[in-house]
Each structure stands twice: as C-alpha cells, then as structure tokens.
C-alpha cells in the first residue's frame, strides 16, 4: 500500500510572522519548520503502514530547495521517501496553481491514499485537499479524527460543527486528518541520523509536465492588492463593579445580540 502525505514547510511559528509589505506575501526568510498539522498526517501514515505490515510512505511538497530540511523531519519520523517540487516559477502559487502542481506530482506516484494535515499555520487556510481530490477525481473526507482501513475502502470519523459523521469511501481516496487524530512521534536519534540517506528527489515543473504559466503568480487566480492595519477593536468599555456589574454585562451582551 502506498501512502502519499502532502506536507509544507512554513515559517517557524515563533514571535514574528509578518507579511512583507514589498512582496505582500508572507515573509519566509526566517527559519522554516514542518507545518505542525502535517506531522499528524505523517504520523497517521506511519501507523497505517505499521498496521498493514508493508507499504511505502512518501512525503511530497512544493516549495523552495531548503524545504528539504522539513521533509527530512518527516523522513526522520519514519517516512521512506521524499519528493520536493522546487521551481522558481512556482513561487506565489495560489490554491488553483498549487493544487494543479501537487495533483501532477501525485499522479506520478499513483498512491492508494493521500493524506493532508488539518490546515497550514502560515495561511490559516484549510482548503488544499478538496481541490487536489477534485483534480485527481477521487473522494475526499476532511477533519478525520479516526481512520480505519479495510483493504479496499476506508472509514473516517470526522468532526463537524454538529458532532461526528462517519463516512466511508473506496480507495484510492484523499483524506485530511484533524490534529486530534494522533500525537506525532518524536523522531528517534537513529531516525534523525538515517534521514539523510533516504531517497530525496527534487523535481522541476517541467519534470511534472506543468507549463510555467500554470503555476506561480501567472497560474494563480487571486491576488493581494494591499495590506492595512486591522480596525481597532472599537470602544472598549471598562467599569468598576458597584454591585451592578452582572446586570451591566447582561445589558452589554444583549446589545451585541449575543444572548
């Protein structure tokens, strides 16, 4: 069974995530790290492989060359192989462009199962898997908190705003796992030291048969026009309790139509 996990390197989430006012894109010049939510997906893939006793876990990413460092973390956890699509023409790709490139990379691999993490910490976006599934013409289930495989199909228990759904889909399928699905393992020292010698491929857009115009800013259908400061929170009110604080809070909540 071949499981492909789509991962992303994101700016290391310490104090200073900022948008570069010049490029209007996220400043990625600092340290990068494997998107924390993708670690859940890698962990789930490793567990599934262990449960079936055989198979391959390949991690796939689109990003600059140095994203290989983050891919190595997945290899250190136990993934078998890494594929990075690194091409300058792909920089600035939006959902339409990114999903097109990833889909091509996945078609090349023909996995039985494609896993994504819940969201990426750099864009607060939670959208990639459905677009990729559409391009691959495969069923998709998102927010999966529990995943069971039975050879030719899978069952996912997913969290929604209303409670839990249980959905079944045949393989091959695309699944996005919720962060509650598991606790990603720490890579062992042996894993870390062995990661470098595992197969790591770097592909260009041409290797995938993607035209430059299909990726990057050219291939994107959205654009960033301007940045501004958020509106101030509005009137902040502060009172001292003179015995009537509870009533005043109720009045405030009613005024805001919260109760």
């Amino acid at each position: 069974m071949k499981i492909a996990v789509c991962v992303k390197e994101v700016p290391d989430a310490t104090a200073h995530k900022r948008i570069d006012p010049g490029t209007k894109r996220l400043d990625r010049s600092g340290e990068g790290a494997l998107n924390a939510f993708d670690a859940n997906a890698v962990e789930e893939a490793l567990r599934l492989k262990a449960a079936t006793g055989e198979g391959e876990v390949v991690v796939i990413s689109m990003g600059p060359e140095r994203a290989l460092n983050s891919l190595r973390k997945a290899l250190a956890m136990g993934a078998d192989r890494a594929v990075l699509v690194a091409d300058d023409a792909a920089a600035g790709s939006d959902l339409v462009a990114t999903s097109a490139v990833l889909a091509k990379a996945l078609e090349r691999e023909q996995p039985d199962l494609v896993l994504f993490g819940q969201q990426s910490s750099d864009s607060d976006g939670a959208v990639l898997w459905a677009a990729v599934a559409e391009r691959l013409r495969r069923p998709v289930i998102s927010q999966v908190a529990e995943l069971t495989l039975d050879g030719v199909s899978l069952t996912g228990k997913r969290q929604t705003e209303f409670g839990y759904d249980i959905i079944r889909a045949p393989l091959p399928a695309v699944i996005a796992v919720a962060d509650s699905i598991n606790e990603p393992r720490y890579p062992s020292l042996k894993g870390i030291m062995g990661a470098k010698s595992k197969p790591q491929e770097t592909l260009s857009l041409a290797d995938l048969g993607v035209q430059p115009g299909q990726a990057g800013e050219q291939g994107s259908r959205t654009e960033v026009l301007a940045l501004s400061d958020p509106p101030p929170r509005g009137d902040t009110r502060k009172i001292e309790d003179d015995g009537s604080a509870a009533e005043q809070i109720v009045a405030f909540l009613a005024e805001k139509r919260l109760i």
Partner: protein
C-alpha cells in the same frame, strides 16, 4: 454581475451564516443575487431565502444529496455556473463549505479567497477584506478572473432582511462518478455534552484569579447557561486545576468564538495569542492594571466570586 450564494442548512433550518452572506451580497447592489439549496426534501427552506435578498433560489433535490457531503455540491454549483453564467460564488465558512469551495476552485480553475470579513465592489470587480495572521493584519484580496469564489469568516456579520422575489427554480444535477464515491454511514447529531472548545461559539475561561480549583464550578455554571465550552489558562492547567485539553493559549488551543468571557485571567500574551480573534471579549478581574483590559470589549474590575453567580442567575432568569 450575477452572484450565487450557497445556502447551507441543518436540521431543517437555513444556517444563519449563509443568510448573512446572502444579505451582504444583495446589499452590494452589484447585480442579481441567487441562492442555492441542495438536499432532499428542502424546497420549504428555499422560501425563506427571499427575505434575505435572493431574487432567485435554485433548488436541487435527490435522495443522493441528502447527506451533507461536499463533492456532489461541487457538481451542482459548477453546473449552475456554466448554465447561468454566474460570476461570483459565495459561502459562509464551515467545514462543509470550505471543502465545496475548494473543490469548486479546482473544477472551475477559479480563484478562491477565504477568511473574508467583508466584500466591496471595486472598479469593475470585487475586492475582499481578508483577516490574516491572527487578526493582526487586513489584506485586500482580489480575483484575476471570473468566476470568483469567496469564503466568509463565520460570524463576520449578521443577516439583514432585504426583501426580494425569492423565485424558486428547480433543476437536476448530473453527478460525477467520483462525487458519489463517498458515502455517509452515520450523520452527526447534537452532542449532549456541550460543544468542544474548537467549535464553541461561546467560551467561558478561568484563570488564576479563581483562587482555587473548586471555583471552576462558577465558570462551568456560566458556560452551561450560555451554552458554551469551558477553557483554562496555562497557569491553572499547570497547577492541575483543569485538564490540558481545555488550555487556550500559545501552547494550548487557538480559538475564535463569538463570545469569550475571561474570568480571573490577567491576559498575558501567552494566553492572548490563543483567543485574541474572539469576536467579543468580556473580562472580569480584580486587578485594574491587568493587561486583558487593554483588549477586552467589556471589562469589569471586580470580584468574580460575587459577579459570576449573579451573572449566571441573571442570564438564567432571562432565558425563562
């Protein structure tokens, strides 16, 4: 410029968020606005949409559409877009809507902007206001082609009544093979134990100011009457007063509910970054210099041991 708004429904009711997006779109006054209802036995819902600005309400019904799965809905919308020349498709963000919008973007090779808090008509096009980086920056985003797809943040605004014709138009959707592959085995039903922190619209959180672990009961009572979830700061979780799963903050969960009530919480930045994008923040703390008062919408300097029980009582009385 014609706009289609996906109207999500659950338990026999159109979702408030979808109606809000519908009325926002109608209020733009930039062309015809239509709504879309997909499901089984839902025509009755369509009638409601006229009151919120839908000139037309498209309805497609099929037993195979009963389960709220995203991919058949991609088929429905794509078909309408092609047949009716729709230029803009809007959604209120939800787990279902996000998957539909994303699949649709790939199907139509159309731009998708998410986390929108507003939409304005610009010269010849539309400009979305997107809130990014934990609400620390507002980004103006645009689309370089049509159709455009937009996902509005939950609770960005409220529905407003905008009377319109609301003419119902039924259609049949051709479903793709891969859209029918996933099957709902058991659909979600309301949980008894109250919402989880991540999904809750209302969160009541307790911090050191509670004084002792037993006082969490005050927080729980308030949460119950507000129908919300209970959260805790790192300090009290560290001290063993409440479980780690309830921790909100830099090293706990990030939440953005409609209402966050902070009880006895100082508002140090380690906590703030986990809840700063809550729509409305109410804080109760006896220290007038607590940092939380700098960003709470309604701050009360006072003794929470007095205020919380009174507040809970007052709210309970209102309900009955």
């Amino acid at each position: 410029m014609s706009t289609l708004v996906f109207l999500e429904h659950h338990g026999g009711e159109l979702q408030k968020g979808s109606l809000a997006v519908l009325s926002k779109a109608a209020g733009l006054g930039a062309g015809d606005v239509a709504g879309l209802v997909v499901g089984s036995g839902v025509e009755g819902l369509a009638a409601q949409a006229g009151a919120y600005g839908a000139a037309t309400v498209y309805v497609t019904e099929d037993a195979r559409l009963e389960a709220p799965l995203p991919q058949p809905r991609v088929d429905a919308i794509a078909q309408l877009v092609a047949e009716k020349g729709i230029e803009t498709v809007l959604f209120a963000q939800s787990i279902l809507a996000t998957d539909i919008a994303s699949g649709l973007a790939a199907r139509l090779e159309a731009g998708l902007n998410w986390q929108l808090t507003d939409l304005v008509a610009g010269d010849g096009g539309l400009v979305g206001k997107q809130s990014a980086l934990g609400d620390s920056v507002v980004v103006d985003v645009g689309w370089t082609s049509t159709p455009r797809i937009g996902l509005f943040r939950a609770g960005a605004f409220d529905p407003s009544e905008q009377a319109a014709a609301g003419t119902v138009e039924r259609f049949d959707v051709q479903l793709q093979e891969h859209s029918l592959a996933a099957e709902m085995v058991e659909q979600a039903h309301a949980e008894e134990s109250g919402p989880s922190i991540e999904d809750a619209n209302v969160i009541v959180a307790g911090g050191r100011g509670l004084g002792e672990p037993e006082k969490f009961a005050l927080v729980e009572e308030l949460a119950k009457v507000l129908g919300g979830a209970v959260a805790a700061t790192r300090a009290v979780v560290d001290a063993g007063w409440y479980p780690y799963s309830a921790q909100v903050g830099q090293t706990g969960k990030s939440v953005s509910p409609t209402l966050y009530v902070a009880c006895g919480i100082s508002g140090a930045i380690q906590h703030k970054v986990g809840m700063q994008s809550s729509k409305t923040i109410v804080a109760i703390n006896k220290d007038p210099n607590a940092p939380i008062f700098e960003f709470a919408d309604f701050g009360v300097v006072g003794d929470l041991h007095q205020i919380l029980p009174k507040l809970t009582e007052a709210l309970r009385a209102r309900k009955s």
